[in-house]
Subunit: 452 residues, 2 copies
């Protein structure tokens, strides 16, 4: 019995995998919202350093990971792969369950995988300050950590709901020297406009993105960083799946099903894309399933069309599954999944039926998370519990059908900063947040962006 | 450059090391407080299962770790050993600094190393419920985790100050099914007496121990578990140092100095005792330093004499360095170090000058902790920052003297549940808690226990 499959630092992959190279249908181009013409990489220059823009549009199959980045990765990578023997026993399933555990990073999630290279490329190009948004606080923490390492100032707009509920995430960011503001804030035009109309607005990721972009756009030595959705973010996260393939090989096994929670797509892409490469290159038939909250079901109930990445409409129009850019998701605890849209690549893959999606109710995911904590000892972040709910479904299906499948999922983070969520669950305060057909239709009908 | 020295699961040591076998002067016996005669192991039977009592008094050099315990250890062990390259660079020191990181356990500290075997031996002997105390919550979390695994009920008395300040530790324990009560509570005679005199009493470890013991003593199928101080607890923790020796060998290095924070001694003993074995067996001269808060300085300013392990005087009299059993330490954030006495073995070793001790002020330790977080990424628990302060002192000494020494310390836990402490530090609310000669003299003079 071997519970953990470990790699040594020399086995940290030397390349990120760019799935665009292998996609049968490439993603449609982003559009200029005014002219509706495709926009080129140059229009991203005010916000991102050139190297990241190149990565955003590259069609090369692999991108080399700089040595300096691999060196910082080695602070916590390679992350362990666990065989979930205890969970299998709890579920009495013939399925073999593995999980890749990203919670061992300094900030407790997979987010530093992209925060570190983003800060690195910004540093190379002389950037003095990076602005960003954060929902639950995982991304903001990761960027704070990375900026501290490279001595770059970091300014974080944190969704007010989380800012109030999760003060300790803010302190964590402060520990690494970042400035953190509740969003909407009075530091931006966007924020002031929203507060004027609705002084009690509790914010959303879309609003926080608008604020961070506005700040970055108004200062030459300041850039912006995004923690999910964009292609280069997903590229960086493929380090997870690249390692997992090595580890599954060491375990003498290979997954039939790969599962991860889904917010903007960085976590799902990170583990799934390298396994999809095996489908493309070697004709494997690994099922990849994205797990989303039923209160924010863009993949399972949204529409595939052009939409903005933020609430205020400051980003280019992106071709994606969306619930509408001013959709405000219910205040579930999985703040990292409260986003109206899905990244461009994942959206195209879903459209082409190369991946699957599944939605889970709020009650179901906390039941799954608590069961996991009892079995495996690790208390999962609320985001991660969504993936666990899908794992349990698939493992129970194996039991019903009497087949043994190998299931791998990405345990993207621990719940040490989310105990309030578990408290609410234990106290019966977690509610179902199912959306009616009407609510979804209303939100999407408001869109006047191009249909694909 | 290799940052992490990892072991595989097969390398989890098969034996705990019992330092008593090698001590030149064995610890003096515990005394019956009424007769002042040495007490035998049988008097511990109402509180502990027989196997743990045997371990408490054994003089065998090694005790075998049961397979079942090693299997559970494999959920997080072997823990990584890190070379602190970034910290060395920050300090610009010629010293080589390593740390053993126990924060990767499910509960975030070294405490499950003994919680698991304690629950295991209780289970073997049919115990249905275990009571315990907890200060900062680390020990209570660990025992909750272990009891959940063996399906034993767990009842935790949590020092009220921590109960109020750290609600999330309580939820963590609830997640594994434990019942948690603020101590002093109205569930025990001890608690009710204290509350009657002082309804606002914020508790102490000594009081919480008294409560947990009272509950266990009054029910046949209930036993008690202690998270530090006792010999069997220290025995179990030697898994840390046993692993660390293997890892230092793999790194091709060996420490000149071993450092750990000191509360009751479990953490310090865990890493230091196996290295002291090398001093005994191989004539090495490894310095082992225990780091305590200057607000609770039993090792550096206490007296070596018989005293009770708890406030109410329910334990046998133990020969130890103590500040007096009703000494109430200042409400520092390092709740795990707020204990009036030192374990028997460590006390004897200090008396015999086989180990050293050093006290650090509250301000100094948070400065050390923040520096460590910036350099190495991991935010240390307030307890752990005490060890880091000693590490920095020694590393700076190396710099002044121009010598390169190898320093190893035990990073016993992460600070994910302690961000309020860092917040207080950043907001200037952390105060010095130096004790006057008079305060210490007053507390010790009250003792009427036997002088050694």
């Amino acid at each position: 019995m071997r519970r953990k499959i470990l790699l040594n630092e020399k086995e940290i992959p030397e390349k990120w995998y760019n799935i665009i190279a292998d996609m049968p249908n490439k993603p449609l181009p982003p559009l200029n919202p005014e002219t509706l013409n495709p926009i080129g990489p140059e229009s991203l220059a005010p916000l991102f350093p050139m190297e990241l823009i190149k990565q955003e549009v590259t069609t090369e199959k692999y991108v080399e990971i700089p040595d300096e980045v691999r060196k910082i990765y080695s602070m916590w990578r390679p992350t362990p792969l666990y065989r979930a023997y205890n969970l299998e026993k709890f579920l009495d399933t013939p399925a073999k369950i593995y999980y890749k555990y990203e919670g061992v990073s300094p900030t407790g999630s997979h987010k530093p995988n992209t925060a570190v290279p983003q800060a690195y490329y910004n540093k190379l190009e002389g950037v003095k300050k990076i602005t960003t948004e954060t929902g639950a606080g995982q991304w903001g923490s990761a960027l704070s950590f990375a900026c501290n390492h490279f001595d770059i100032d970091c300014e974080v707009y944190m969704v007010k709901l989380s800012f109030d509920h999760k003060p300790y995430r803010k302190i964590m960011m402060n520990t690494w020297g970042a400035d953190v503001y509740a969003s909407p804030s009075d530091r931006t035009l966007v924020g002031r406009n929203i507060l004027q109309k609705d002084p009690k607005n509790t914010g959303s990721l879309g609003i926080a993105i608008s604020e961070a972009i506005e700040r970055a756009a108004s200062d030459d030595s300041t850039k912006y960083a995004l923690g999910s959705v964009l292609n280069h973010v997903k590229l960086h996260q493929t380090i997870i799946g690249q390692e997992a393939i090595l580890q599954m090989e060491k375990a003498g096994d290979m997954p039939d099903i790969v599962i991860a929670p889904f917010g903007g797509g960085s976590n799902f892409s990170g583990i799934a894309f390298p396994f999809l490469r095996l489908n493309f290159d070697e004709g494997k038939k690994i099922r990849c399933i994205a797990s989303e909250p039923s209160s924010c079901p863009k993949l399972t109930r949204g529409v595939f069309r052009y939409d903005f990445g933020d609430t205020a409409g400051m980003t280019p129009l992106l071709p994606m599954y969306t619930l509408g850019h001013d959709f405000i998701p219910a205040p579930i605890h999985a703040g990292g999944l409260r986003y109206h849209g899905a990244g461009v690549i994942v959206s195209q893959l879903l459209k082409d039926k190369l991946i699957e999606a599944k939605a889970h109710d709020n009650m179901e995911v906390f039941s799954a998370g608590t069961l996991f904590a009892k079995a495996e000892g690790i208390i999962p972040a609320p985001e991660a519990t969504h993936g666990i709910a899908t794992v349990i479904d698939e493992a129970e299906k194996c039991k019903r059908e009497g087949v043994s499948k190998t299931i791998l999922f990405n345990l993207c983070g621990h719940g040490n900063f989310d105990m309030k969520a578990y408290q609410d669950y234990f106290e019966g305060k977690i509610k179902k947040h199912e959306l009616s057909e009407e609510e979804i239709k209303n939100s999407i009908q408001k869109l006047n962006t191009p249909i694909i």
